[in-house]
């Protein structure tokens, strides 16, 4: 087959015009609220995230002023405790991960060669929820009730008995913010990466930042979900509805630590892995050669992701666990050095094999390499249990985690900003300011944090608002304070640089750095459709190895014509196969809609209602959420148009069909992500149940009646049967079967829910006074939630089936319902066995 270099036929001007109009933002303030395209949202997201970084940094400076001299009275104890809690909470929940999500939201479609993220309304929802939630959390300062239990909120201190004010309720509820935004982002990233790449971008041709975000997305599902379960349990305890963590009721304070750190440890790798992805891109571009051993780098990222889930107990080394258990986790904490070491040496080897281009992004990467090495080495040290028994909860640890978080994450983020902001704004940042920015940050970071290694070993614990004179801590703390201010000046210089460069920066053009990946083939800033013509790649480094991004194969040529400034009247993007990236279908992307904003407002009302224990905001929020759901799931005119345009193509292999109805649709994969989240929540709940009840035998003091629950479980399984029947009706175009099947599924599921609730209330358990009863409520409550989700989805499907049973969108819904029903059935059996059968064994 000879390589065709014939350019594709030109696009008619009115098609191009219609395409650009389709992808343009709606105008005005209302248009801004209705925006769903990733580019404007990601820009807002980045600005908001950076604003929280500055706020969190300000809190850090206040802490350093207080600690600059012994027995200082700049801040009193209560204020200091609120400030250090909010400093940590801001940085960990409101800055790093949202900012990384924002950067990924912006860059992923460009790197992948597609036009948007798979769930644009989810993108908008994540952003608005995050913004409102951050404001909600910071509003606590206005009431003098900022959270004060530390960013990881150990119980019993943060339970209602020892933290009776609403401070920790702000924290607990406000965290839902971070959780929703992160899980939404995870769904987007995973589905985008596995389904929406450019043709020819096989798995082993994906850029390293893309691999990093794929691993990160999966990690978010398995890490954030336990946090959701844990924070829900804490809030129920605080409302005195349960006693999961109350020792006097048989609860286990260490359960909170396990749940939190199963989240907390992977969370820091969720931060590091994207940073490592950025570093790979910058090293590659600024040493003018491909990363040495791509395979090893990918494997390091994936291995780090896995191993990070096996380290969490190293945050609990001093809690009194058995020695052998400590041994497991100390071994795993050391093992992670291997993939990290491979990455560090991979970057160094790439620099060696290439020729460095001395620009600011490279400086930040070099700073990262030095600082992350130090942080990683102290990490090995604290990973060794005996040494951790001295270093834990001392300033040595504070030094360690700032080296890995600032050195290992913030420095790469700055490198990424100097590298990619020119793509976003169209203008390069100033090099001279950039160098001053870097050196101030690098030098003063070390001045601020290196002495802390020593003050920790000299016996200074963390989270203290002052320290006595005469212990050798004064000089070290003063040096740290000076360093903190110097570091802040460096950050300020960055802000100056960004502001200055908006007007005065050198124009970037599409590829100012001579880089290799797809984002550099588009104009700076890129159009909102990102790629007017979907590119085709034939190597790992498209712009270095084959500048033309055109299809050479005739069949591919024909298929890609449907994506050249097309579809023109509705937003469409390409769906490809996972491993080989062969084109499969065209997905419809929603346009501007007010539904996400409405839903975010509904969440805010629910947060406020939960905070103040009032029914009115909860009810208002619930009603608004129902409205938002309706707006979200009702038929869209643009999708109807898409169905008409591409509807008849199913039997023609040469033309791409519409991605709707079953596994071809992005929504089906999104449903798989949701089910993964629910499955993780189930595992967390089960583990908590057994932890509290001391294993199955511990619960035998309360034999629970088994008949009603057994019946309920059978009903759940029947619901699955009904859904399968409905799906069969869809496949055979028998709308009666579809309607009856869905209706039956709804009724039967409602019955299962009712039976389960009744069984619980009839058992006479008192969750507020018994940890075991709380654990039972936790398991059953989980199943009720799953059933409610199923009922909502079946209702939506039923509405479609009653309205227009042949509409393929309705068919999509039934496919998704089937996944949910299968999971509901399985989880019903599992919950039944755990709660009702295992105590009898």
């Amino acid at each position: 087959m000879s390589a065709h270099t014939v350019p594709p036929p030109p696009v008619p001007p009115d098609t191009l015009e219609a395409f650009e109009k389709t992808w343009s933002s709606a105008p005005g303030f209302l248009g801004m609220l209705r925006e769903v395209n990733n580019i404007p949202i990601a820009q807002r997201y980045m600005v908001t995230g950076f604003a929280f970084f500055l706020l969190g940094g300000l809190l850090g400076l206040l802490m350093r002023i207080q600690l600059g001299s012994p027995e200082n009275t700049f801040l009193d104890a209560e204020t200091y405790n609120q400030i250090f809690t909010m400093h940590g909470t801001t940085m960990m929940f409101l800055f790093v991960i949202p900012f990384i999500e924002a950067l990924a939201n912006y860059m992923l479609p460009l790197l992948l060669g597609t036009r948007d993220l798979p769930f644009p309304r989810m993108t908008a929802l994540s952003y608005w929820t995050y913004l409102f939630g951050g404001i909600f959390l910071y509003s606590s300062f206005l009431f003098g009730a900022a959270p004060d239990g530390g960013w990881f909120a150990y119980v019993p201190l943060t339970n209602v008995e020892y933290s009776p004010g609403i401070n920790m309720d702000f924290w607990d509820i406000g965290l839902s913010v971070a959780e929703i935004a992160a899980l939404g982002a995870a769904a987007e990233m995973i589905v985008a990466i596995i389904r929406m790449r450019a043709p020819g971008m096989t798995l082993n041709r994906m850029p390293l930042f893309v691999w990093a975000m794929l691993v990160t997305g999966v990690m978010i599902i398995f890490a954030f979900t336990p946090l959701i379960v844990g924070t829900a349990m804490l809030e129920l305890d605080r409302k005195e509805l349960t006693a999961f963590f109350k020792p006097e009721a048989g609860g286990k304070p260490l359960l909170w630590q396990h749940i939190f750190w199963v989240f907390g440890h992977p969370e820091v790798y969720i931060m590091f892995i994207p940073a490592a992805g950025i570093v790979s891109h910058v090293v590659q571009t600024f040493s003018r050669r491909a990363i040495v051993s791509y395979t090893l780098m990918v494997l390091s990222i994936v291995a780090t992701g896995f191993i990070s889930f096996g380290l969490w107990v190293h945050h609990m080394f001093t809690a009194g666990l058995s020695a052998v258990a400590l041994g497991f986790f100390t071994a795993a904490s050391m093992a992670i050095a291997i993939p990290n070491g491979v990455q560090v040496f991979g970057w160094i080897a790439t620099l060696w094999a290439g020729r460095p281009v001395w620009r600011t992004p490279l400086l930040f990467v070099l700073g990262f390499l030095v600082l992350f090495t130090i942080g990683g080495l102290t990490g090995i040290m604290v990973g060794s249990v005996p040494f951790d028994w001295q270093a834990h909860d001392s300033y040595f640890l504070v030094a360690h985690f700032h080296y890995v978080l600032i050195g290992g994450v913030v420095f790469p983020l700055f490198a990424g900003l100097y590298y990619w902001l020119p793509k976003v704004t169209g203008r390069l940042l100033n090099e001279r300011l950039g160098r001053w920015n870097f050196w101030l940050m690098f030098v003063f970071f070390n001045v601020a944090f290196f002495p802390m290694h020593l003050s920790g070993l000299l016996g200074m614990p963390r989270r203290v608002y002052t320290y006595p004179a005469g212990l050798g801590l004064e000089t070290l703390n003063l040096i740290s304070t000076i360093g903190a201010f110097g570091f802040a000046i460096g950050i300020a210089l960055f802000v100056v640089n960004v502001v200055w460069s908006r007007r005065n920066g050198e124009l970037a053009g599409s590829n100012p750095w001579g880089s290799d990946s797809l984002e550099w083939s588009e104009a700076s800033p890129p159009p909102s459709a990102q790629f007017v013509r979907i590119p085709v790649v034939r190597s790992r480094h498209p712009l270095w190895e084959h500048q033309d991004l055109l299809p050479h194969d005739p069949q591919l040529l024909g298929q890609m014509e449907d994506l050249n400034a097309r579809p023109a009247h509705w937003r469409g993007a390409l769906v490809v196969s996972t491993v080989d990236a062969t084109p499969l279908a065209i997905a419809h992307m929603p346009g501007s809609t007010i539904a996400p904003f409405t839903m975010a407002v509904a969440f805010l009302a629910i947060f406020v209602g939960a905070l103040v224990d009032r029914a009115e905001p909860l009810a208002a929020g619930g009603a608004l959420a129902a409205v938002a759901l309706f707006l979200w799931f009702r038929p869209q005119a643009s999708e109807t148009l898409a169905l008409q345009e591409l509807g008849g193509r199913k039997e023609d292999p040469a033309r791409l069909q519409l991605a709707v109805g079953g596994p071809i649709a992005n929504g089906w994969w999104g449903m798989l992500v949701l089910i993964s989240i629910l499955a993780t929540a189930l595992i967390t709940t089960i583990a908590s149940y057994f932890y509290i009840s001391d294993g199955p035998s511990g619960a035998s003091q309360l034999p629970l009646s088994i008949t009603q629950p057994a019946l309920g479980t059978i009903l759940s399984l029947l619901a699955l049967v009904a859904v399968e029947w409905a799906l069969r009706g869809v496949r055979k175009h028998q709308s009666i079967a579809t309607r009856l099947g869905l209706a039956a599924a709804w009724i039967v599921s409602a019955g299962a829910l009712g039976l389960s609730i009744q069984a619980f209330s009839g058992a006479g358990l008192e969750p507020e006074r018994s940890a075991y009863a709380s654990a039972v409520l936790g398991m059953l409550g989980y199943q009720w939630l799953v059933l409610i989700i199923l009922l909502v989805t079946v209702a939506i499907g039923l509405l479609w089936a009653l309205g227009d049973p042949e509409d393929r969108r309705g068919h999509s819904v039934v496919h998704n319902i089937r996944l949910m029903a299968a999971f509901t059935g399985v989880s019903a059996v599992v919950v039944f066995v755990v709660v009702y059968v295992s105590p009898r064994l």
């Binding site: 494997l299 050391m334 291997i338 491993v579």
Partner: protein
């Protein structure tokens, strides 16, 4: 000779060893908890046995992946977008993972050789 390597086999090759490692950690921790709560004398031996079994299974996954890698390298049928390279990549990854995670399993599993099962520090 290039043999057909399905996506399922690649997923197994890629994820097999890490999954075994994760399960080994969970099982070991669980065995230790049970052992300490019920004063089960055999808990230490059970953990060591679990380690040996897990290491063997992980090695098995490595062998499986290595076989697939050889099959993928065997044929360069080419085709439009050269799919064999990606299969080679995924299979090779499985081999490397097996090596890494066998090491990790052994590193964890040697704890009972040094430490008493249940002293709380």
């Amino acid at each position: 000779m290039s043999r057909e390597i399905g996506t399922g086999a690649l997923v197994v090759a890629f994820l097999g060893a890490p999954t075994v490692w994760a399960l080994h950690l969970a099982v070991s921790y669980f065995l230790v908890s049970i052992g300490c709560r019920t004063d089960w004398a055999g808990a230490k031996a059970a953990v060591l046995l679990a380690t040996v079994i897990a290491a063997l299974i992980a090695i098995g996954f490595g062998v499986f992946a290595w076989q697939r890698w050889r099959w993928a390298r065997g044929g360069r049928g080419g085709g439009l977008l050269d799919p064999d390279h990606v299969r080679e990549f995924l299979a090779l990854s499985g081999v490397v993972f097996a090596a890494l995670f066998v090491a990790a399993i052994i590193m964890s599993g040697i704890s009972p050789l040094f430490l008493p099962l249940c002293t709380t520090s």
